[in-house]
C-alpha cells in the first residue's frame, strides 16, 4: 500500500446523497480517510453519521455520489464483491449486538478467519492472541450474554481486527459503556490501530472519545461542515 506516500486517500467519498423515504440522511457529504489514520466523525444525533459510515463501508449504496476504496468504486461493485471486501479489508464495530449470541468469545473472534478458510485450531490460536491484546484473556469460553458491555465491545474489536483489515469502521463503539470501560475500549483500539497501521473511521458524539483521533470531521444535516486537522499537528 503506497497511498500514504502518494498522499492519496485510502477511502474517499464524494458528494454522497442518501434519502430514506422523505428524510435526507446525506446531502452531498464528502470525506477522505488516509491509510493508517484515525478519523473521528462527530455531529448531532440524526446528522447522518451512521448513514455515512454505512455508505463508506459498502453496507449501503448511496443514491448519488461516489465511494472510492483503493482505486475501486464501491458504489458500483456487486454485492458479492462488497461482502468479500468487508470480510477481508474492512472490520466493523457497532454500538452493540454484532457478536453472535450462541458463539463463545473465542469462536466469535475466530469466525472471520474460518470464513476465509483458516482451520479452526489455527483460527482459535490467532483469536486467543487478539483477545489477549484487548485484555479479555480468560473469558474465551463466555458467550456475549454472559459478558459485561466492555468485555463484549473489546471482543467485538478483536473480531474486527483479527483479519488485519485496512480499515476499521466503528459506530459509537463506546456508546453503551460507562466512561472507564469506554476508555479501555478506546485505548485498545487506538493502540492496536497505530501498531498495525489500520485506518479507523470512528463515529462518536463524545469529545473524550474523539480525542483519540488524529483528525475530526463534523457532520451537520448530512454534509461535512468542518474538517479539523489541528489534532494531527499536536500529536
Amino acid at each position: 500500500m503506497n497511498n500514504a506516500a502518494t498522499g492519496e486517500p485510502l477511502l474517499a467519498a464524494r458528494d454522497l446523497v442518501k434519502t430514506h423515504g422523505r428524510t435526507s440522511a446525506l446531502r452531498g457529504a464528502s470525506l477522505d480517510l488516509r491509510a493508517g489514520e484515525i478519523l473521528a466523525v462527530t455531529g448531532a444525533s440524526g446528522s447522518g453519521k451512521s448513514t455515512l459510515l454505512h455508505c463508506l463501508a459498502g453496507i449501503v449504496r448511496p443514491d448519488r455520489g461516489s465511494v472510492t476504496y483503493d482505486g475501486q468504486r464501491l458504489d458500483r461493485l456487486p454485492e458479492k464483491r462488497l461482502s468479500e471486501l468487508r470480510r477481508t479489508d474492512f472490520g466493523v464495530v457497532f454500538q452493540f449486538g454484532q457478536l453472535i449470541p450462541e458463539l463463545t468469545a473465542l469462536d466469535n473472534v475466530a469466525l472471520p478467519l474460518m470464513l476465509a478458510g483458516t482451520p479452526r485450531s489455527r483460527a482459535h490460536e490467532r483469536a486467543g492472541e487478539w483477545l489477549e491484546r484487548f485484555g479479555v484473556r480468560g473469558q474465551e469460553e463466555l458467550r456475549p450474554g454472559e459478558m459485561s458491555g466492555g468485555q463484549a465491545q473489546r471482543t467485538a474489536l478483536a473480531r474486527a481486527l483479527v483479519t488485519d483489515p485496512k480499515v476499521v469502521f466503528a459506530d459509537e463503539p463506546t456508546g453503551a459503556l460507562d466512561s472507564l470501560a469506554g476508555e479501555q475500549v478506546m485505548t485498545a483500539l487506538a493502540h492496536t490501530a497505530r501498531e498495525s497501521g489500520t485506518a479507523v473511521l470512528l463515529i462518536t458524539h463524545d469529545a473524550r472519545t474523539a480525542a483519540y483521533a488524529d483528525r475530526e470531521a463534523s457532520l451537520h444535516d448530512g454534509t461535512v461542515v468542518a474538517e479539523d486537522a489541528a489534532l494531527e499537528v499536536t500529536r
Binding site: K80, S83, T88, F96, P101, P112, R120, E146
Partner: protein, 447 residues
C-alpha cells in the same frame, strides 16, 4: 379496556410486517383448529345408523364414525402446534416492546390484556369464519342437527378464542414478571418441551375420554383405540425427547469439531436451545411413523382385499377408508410442514439484528442460509431415520399378522421417511427469502 385495545392496535399498526404475519397465521391456525373440532363435534353428535351422502357410506355407522372423529381430533395436534408456532412469530420484538411499556409504568395486567387482545381477536376471527361456514353448510344440507350438535358448535366457537387468549397470556409471563423481561436474555431457560409434552398428554387424555363417551354399547371396552392412543402418546413423548436429545448431542459433537462456519453457528444454536425446534420436529417424527406404518398396512390390506376373501362390505367401503386415512395423514404432514416453515421464519425474525450485523461484517448470505437449513437438517436426520424404521416395523408386523402374509417387507414404506425429510428441508428453505430482508442494513438501527 378500550384504552388497552387502542394501544394494542397502535402497537400492531406501527410495527412491521412480522406482526401482521403473526396475526394472520394465528387466525388461519384458529380457523383450521375450529374446522377440525367442529367436524368432530358434528359427527360425534350423530346417533346410531345415519346415512350420510358422502364417503361411500363410511360415515353411516357409529363404529367407523368414531374412527373418523378420532382422526379429526388427532389432526388437531399438529394444528395446535402450528397455532403455537404462529403466535410466537416475531413475538420477541413484541415482548420487548411490551417490556418497554412495563418500564414506562404499565401494570402487569395492562400488558397482559394487550397481548391477550391481539391473540384472542385473531383466534376469534378464525373460529368465527369456521363456525359460520359450518352452520351455513348444515343448514344447506337440510339435516336437522341435534341439540348436542348445536351445543358442541357453540363450545368450539367460544372455546378456541378463549384458549388462544389464555395461551397468549401464558406465553407472556416472563415479560410480565419483570419490566426488563426478555430484553436481556439469560441463557438457561426452562424446557418448553416439557410444557408441550404435558399439554399433549392432557389433550390425548381428553381426546380418549371423549372418544369413550361416543355412541357405543355400554360394557364394552374398546382396547383397539386405547392401544392406538396410548401408543401415539408414547411415540409422541419419545419423539419429543429424541429430538431434544439428538439436537443437544449433534450440537455438542459438531460444535467441538467442525471447521465450517455455517455448521459451527448451527451447532452452537442447537446446543444453546435444543428444545426450540422440538415442538415442530416432534410433529414431523410422528407424521413419519404414522405415514410409514400406514403405507405398509395399506399395502397388506389391499393385497388381502384383492385376494378375493369374503369381506363384510363392498370393496369401495374399504378403499374409501384407506383414501381418507391417507388424506388425513397428508393434511397432517402439510400442517406440520407449515409449522416448520413458520418456525424457521420465527428463528430468523428473532435474530434480525445479529444477522444484519453479520452481513455487515461480510459474512456471506450463503453461510447464514446454510446455517439456518442445518439447524433443521442436523437434528432431524437421526430422528426421521428412527421414526421411519419404527413405522416400517409397524407395517411389517401387521403384514405378519395377516393370514399367510409372512414377513413381507413393504419397501414403498421406506420412501416415506426420505420424502418427509426432503419436504422438511424444503419447508425450512421457504424461509430463506426472508433472510435477505432480515439482513437489510436498516435492521442495524434496532436493538
Amino acid at each position: 379496556m378500550t384504552a388497552d385495545l387502542r394501544l394494542a392496535w397502535h402497537l400492531v399498526r406501527g410495527s412491521d410486517r412480522h406482526e401482521w404475519w403473526r396475526i394472520a397465521l394465528t387466525g388461519v391456525g384458529a380457523l383450521l383448529a375450529s374446522a377440525l373440532a367442529l367436524g368432530a363435534v358434528v359427527l360425534g353428535a350423530l346417533r346410531g345408523h345415519h346415512p350420510i351422502p358422502v364417503a361411500d357410506g363410511l360415515l353411516d355407522n357409529p363404529g367407523e364414525r368414531a374412527g373418523v372423529v378420532a382422526a379429526l381430533l388427532l389432526l388437531l395436534i399438529p394444528v395446535l402446534g402450528f397455532v403455537g408456532q404462529s403466535a410466537r412469530l416475531g413475538a420477541v420484538h413484541r415482548d420487548r416492546r411490551l417490556a418497554g411499556l412495563r418500564l414506562a409504568g404499565a401494570t402487569p395486567w395492562q400488558v397482559r390484556r394487550i397481548a391477550a387482545a391481539e391473540t384472542g381477536l385473531a383466534c376469534l376471527a378464525g373460529s368465527a369464519v369456521a363456525t359460520l361456514a359450518c352452520v351455513v353448510l348444515m343448514v344447506r344440507v337440510g339435516d336437522h342437527p341435534s341439540v348436542w350438535a348445536w351445543a358442541g358448535i357453540a363450545v368450539v366457537a367460544v372455546g378456541v378464542p378463549v384458549a388462544g387468549t389464555l395461551t397468549g397470556v401464558l406465553a407472556l409471563r416472563r415479560v410480565v414478571a419483570s419490566p426488563l423481561g426478555t430484553v436481556r436474555r439469560a441463557r438457561p431457560r426452562t424446557r418448553p418441551g416439557l410444557m408441550f409434552f404435558g399439554a399433549v398428554a392432557l389433550f390425548l387424555g381428553a381426546l380418549f375420554v371423549s372418544y369413550l363417551s361416543l355412541d357405543r354399547r355400554p360394557g364394552t371396552v374398546p382396547t383397539g383405540p386405547m392401544l392406538v392412543v396410548s401408543g401415539l402418546a408414547l411415540a409422541g413423548a419419545a419423539a419429543l425427547w429424541l429430538v431434544g436429545a439428538t439436537s443437544r448431542l449433534t450440537g455438542r459433537l459438531l460444535a467441538a469439531r467442525t471447521g465450517n462456519p455455517a455448521v459451527l453457528i448451527a451447532a452452537e444454536r442447537l446446543r444453546d436451545d435444543p428444545w426450540a425446534a422440538a415442538r415442530t420436529h416432534a410433529a414431523v417424527l410422528l407424521v413419519t411413523v404414522v405415514g410409514t406404518g400406514f403405507v405398509g398396512v395399506r399395502q397388506t390390506l389391499l393385497e388381502v382385499l384383492h385376494s378375493g376373501k369374503q369381506v363384510a362390505e363392498d370393496l369401495s367401503f374399504y378403499t374409501t377408508g384407506l383414501d381418507l386415512t391417507a388424506a388425513a395423514i397428508g393434511v397432517g404432514l402439510a400442517i406440520t410442514l407449515a409449522g416448520l416453515a413458520v418456525g424457521t421464519a420465527e428463528s430468523l425474525a428473532t435474530r434480525r439484528r445479529t444477522l444484519a450485523a453479520q452481513a455487515a461484517a461480510g459474512v456471506p448470505h450463503a453461510v447464514l442460509g446454510r446455517a439456518l437449513l442445518l439447524e433443521t437438517a442436523l437434528p432431524l436426520a437421526p430422528g426421521v431415520l428412527l421414526a421411519g424404521l419404527g413405522g416400517a416395523a409397524i407395517g411389517t408386523g401387521y403384514a405378519s399378522l395377516t393370514e399367510g402374509g409372512g414377513w413381507s417387507m413393504p419397501w414403498a414404506a421406506l420412501l416415506v421417511p426420505v420424502a418427509v425429510y426432503a419436504a422438511s428441508l424444503l419447508a425450512a428453505a421457504t424461509a430463506l427469502p426472508l433472510l435477505r430482508r432480515s439482513v437489510r442494513p436498516a435492521e442495524l438501527r434496532y436493538a
